[in-house]
């Protein structure tokens, strides 16, 4: 097992380093702001006193590296400072919204992952049939459509024309779980549509390249039934690509979630980020970016570690 442990350790260290570099990037990007941050935030009309007060509040009198270390230390404890606009603690604003976003993403993932992988395998087995071609066109169309297009179409059909589901996904902590599911159904469905299409195509490609291996032909020449070829000979080797597909698409969900939250006015972290960007509320922007990036890096990390763990050549070294 020595090799595997070493590989995983190396991958973990690399992931941590990447996260560190990204945090530096996010923090110092704001430093690139032309001119004085406080001035930029308050605009030209601000008085000298208010600018000075803001500078004081942001700790701008200290050198940037020191402020970065403070910020990073805070971030590790979940403290991202205070909002420049409202003066609320960033962590207090983000906390519940982050949970909402997580809820929406997991809602979509729980439906999309099994659905897409089953369909992807099915389409790979039926490759070159008419169903494969139809699936190809349909998934390509779904991938090509912007999330807000799919979102509005769903609103039009399910909220406006039939009023089966609410167009605005206003949720709160007091609601029952069933109610939450019902109210956030349309945003989740939008995400499911896009992610399923991506995942199906990637699963199909992975399975097809696997089915072309000589050992699959060998299994068929041993008289193994098609079903058993898949389950016993293809699947054990398919975990790495499938894990990869899932992780990549979950990572994709994070980006998709921003647009979908705006379309459905869903109280999540994505909408918060968009608001903060237009108001130039940098502490919130930085915090949101760090959270999104960290999730993204973590998922990619999980994919790589999963691929290492399921590789028989690495699991059973010489």
């Amino acid at each position: 097992m020595g090799d595997v442990t070493k590989l995983i350790a190396r991958r973990l260290v690399y992931g941590a380093l990447t996260l560190l570099v990204v945090s530096i990037l996010i923090f110092f990007a704001v430093e690139l702001l032309p001119g004085d941050i406080a001035q930029a935030v308050l605009g030209q009309g601000a008085t000298k006193e208010t600018v000075a007060a803001l500078r004081e509040q942001m700790g701008l009198d200290q050198p940037a590296p020191v402020r970065y270390l403070h910020w990073l230390a805070g971030a590790v404890h979940g403290d991202f400072g205070v909002s420049l606009i409202s003066g609320d603690r960033v962590s207090a604003v983000i906390g519940p919204r982050f949970l909402n976003t997580l809820f929406l993403a997991s809602y979509a993932a729980v439906i999309a992952v099994p659905f897409a992988i089953t369909l992807g395998i099915l389409v790979a087995l039926l490759r070159n049939s008419i169903f494969d071609r139809v699936a190809n066109v349909v998934t390509l169309t779904a991938i090509s459509s912007p999330e807000f297009f799919l979102g509005y179409i769903l609103i039009l059909f399910f909220a406006v024309k039939t009023s089966a589901f609410p167009a605005i996904a206003s949720i709160g902590s007091h609601m029952s779980f069933g109610d939450l599911l019902y109210r956030s159904f349309l945003p989740a469905l939008t995400l499911v549509l896009v992610v399923t299409a991506h995942m199906m195509r990637m699963t199909r490609a992975a399975i097809i390249s696997l089915l072309a291996s000589p050992y699959i032909e060998m299994a068929r020449l041993k008289g193994v039934s098609p079903w058993r070829v898949i389950v016993r000979h293809a699947l054990p080797n398919a975990w790495a690509p499938i894990i990869n597909v899932v992780a990549l698409n979950l990572a994709y969900l994070i980006t998709g979630v921003v647009l979908v939250e705006v379309v459905f006015v869903y109280p999540g972290i994505g909408q918060l980020l968009v608001d903060a960007v237009s108001k130039r509320d940098f502490p919130i922007v930085q915090a949101c970016c760090l959270i999104f990036a960290a999730t993204f890096i973590l998922l990619n990390l999980a994919a790589d570690v999963g691929a290492i763990l399921t590789n028989p050549r690495l699991r059973h070294p010489k």
Partner: protein, 549 residues
């Protein structure tokens, strides 16, 4: 050998089509074949002859993108071309088994060897799992695999290529089939390993009186294995006869031309004794990839107008030596002299003229020529780069070079490499090397990817060019027939060291270094009794150990 005369497999007028660009093209044009119980039939032909396709069709199987379009395949009274998929499945693995070319790729990396071995017998309820495992170990022992009790519990990537190939033969035997298809089972192996596998296969086929179709492109190999031989060319059968008759008295021109290939042999030239300095002198070279040492104290000289063959199996360091000479891999120790002066170790430090003097011809002509450049530019570039030729002069030079390699200039000048045959591509590779007007050319397995007839043409061409232009060659090869044909001196390498070197005629006469001996004696000969004789000489049980010298 008394063979039971029941017909086991009868193929009549078999036609197979392959799909290219939405069109079906016939690639096997009406082949007939009859195989009796316990009989071994050799299918022989060059690449593209359709051997593997026919072998698979004997199992009622066509690869994706292929289909059996006509004729009949009758196995033990059952028509396979019209059988249902489930009926065919019931046959495969149990009554007809398959041994693939690359065992390393054909074993599933996710399961232990023995689990894959017992899959078919357990599935067909021929044996219980424990019995099947016991049987597997006995087969491993019979095939002389090391640690037969334990080797099955390893994963495929933990076992060497030659052992895997034997394990795959054992797996094919698991259900004691009536027929086994061997699809080039030793092509990917070194000669010394090949012997073990050949002996094992022949042994087990004899013991269980299994019928077999043995597919290969190597005549000498098939002569050891088959009772009868069938010669194929481009999906058509040329002729068929018993092995002895086929070797002694082939009827067709094509077959005779195959046999004739090994006749080319050049007189050995002695070293010049007038104090001429060697063109290339390799002196005490060590080299390593990272921490792995791959060359140790390699030294040899190459004199003008002479051919030095560097012989060894994969991993012996012969290609690495070439990389050191060209400067792609600067040696860790030692010097390389060109015409008596030391060359900088890395090619980037060498002068344009030093680079010009050492040229290389590659094994795979496909990857050695840029598929998107016209022949005229491929050959013209060195002439332009080194000689500064332009315009009409350049065109004339390219025409001259094309003439040298016996290709019609007007026909080839503006074509692209993918439009050429393998032999033509290799000739272009030679012309590109010549365009630099070098004094020394490294030929890296230049004939091993070619069909034998074409390879012979290339060897003759290289020989003629050497005489006309006074070139020195370093010939990297694992094929002793090539060495016999073209070398003046031989360097034998094993595991990064030179184990023996000297003039060719001496090298083919005993006494030898034990490894040279093993290498020489392992090369299959046309004589159908060669393998039997060799095994008797070595003592059958020592086959495995002999390779480990």
């Amino acid at each position: 050998m008394a063979k039971n005369k029941d017909v086991l497999l009868r193929i009549r007028d078999l036609r197979i089509e392959a799909q290219t660009d939405d069109e079906w093209q016939e690639i096997v044009h009406g082949v007939n074949l009859t195989l009796h119980r316990g009989e071994v039939l050799g299918l022989i032909g060059e690449s593209g002859a359709g051997k593997s396709t026919i072998g698979l069709a004997a199992m009622g199987f066509a690869r994706d993108g292929c289909r059996i379009s006509g004729g009949s395949v009758e196995f033990d009274g059952m028509e396979l071309t019209t059988s249902s998929p489930s009926a065919l499945r019931a046959l495969r693995g149990s009554r007809i088994a398959y041994v693939a070319q690359s065992a390393a790729a054909s074993f599933n990396p996710a399961h232990k060897i023995i689990d894959q071995h017992v899959e078919a017998p357990v599935m067909y309820r021929i044996r219980k799992r424990a019995e099947a495992q016991e049987d597997a170990m006995q087969l491993y022992e019979r095939l002389r695999l090391p640690n037969p009790q334990e080797i099955g519990f390893r994963y495929p990537h933990q076992v060497s290529g030659g052992q895997l190939q034997r394990a795959m033969t054992a797996m094919a035997m698991a259900c004691r089939p009536d027929l086994i298809i061997f699809d080039e089972p030793t092509t990917a192996l070194d000669v010394t390993t090949q012997i073990e596998v050949l002996a094992a296969i022949r042994d087990i086929v004899d013991q269980f009186d299994t019928a077999a179709i043995y597919i290969t492109h190597d005549l000498a190999v098939v002569a050891q294995m088959a009772d009868r031989i069938k010669v194929l060319l481009k999906g058509e059968e040329i002729e068929e006869a018993s092995t002895e008759k086929m070797l002694e008295d082939p009827q067709e021109d094509y077959t005779r031309s195959l046999w004739a290939v090994r006749s080319f042999e050049r007189q050995q030239k002695p070293r010049p004794d007038d104090g001429t300095k060697p063109v290339v002198s390799v002196q005490d070279i060590d080299a390593a990839y990272g921490d792995t040492k791959v060359l140790e104290d390699v030294s040899f000289d190459i004199y003008p107008g002479m051919t030095v063959a560097v012989v060894g199996e994969s991993g012996s360091g012969k290609s690495t030596t070439a990389r050191c000479i060209t400067g792609l891999l600067p040696p860790a120790k030692g010097r390389i002299l060109f015409d008596g002066t030391e060359m900088p170790p890395a090619f980037r430090q060498r002068s344009k003229d030093q680079l010009r003097q050492v040229q290389m011809i590659y094994q795979m002509a496909d990857t050695a020529l840029n598929p998107r450049l016209r022949i005229g530019e491929i050959i013209g570039r060195p002439a332009r780069f080194y000689g500064g030729l332009r315009g009409v002069k350049l065109k004339n030079r390219v025409d001259e070079l094309l003439g040298l390699i016996e290709l019609e200039p007007s026909k080839f000048y503006s074509r692209f490499p993918p439009e050429l045959s393998g032999g033509q591509k290799q000739r272009i590779g030679i012309a590109r090397a010549l365009a630099a007007e070098p004094r020394f050319i490294i030929c890296d397995e230049v004939t091993s990817a070619l069909d034998q007839l074409v390879a012979e043409g290339i060897l003759k061409l290289l020989d003629r060019l050497q005489k006309e232009l006074g070139l020195a060659y370093m010939f990297i090869t694992h094929d002793l027939a090539t060495v016999r044909a073209i070398a003046d001196e031989v360097v034998v390498m094993q595991r990064g060291r030179v184990v023996e070197q000297g003039p060719k005629d001496e090298m083919f006469q005993p006494p030898h270094h034990p490894y040279t001996d093993l290498l020489l004696s392992s090369v299959p000969e046309m004589d159908p009794n060669w393998l039997t004789a060799l095994l008797e000489e070595r003592g059958v049980d020592n086959v495995g150990e002999a390779a480990k010298v």
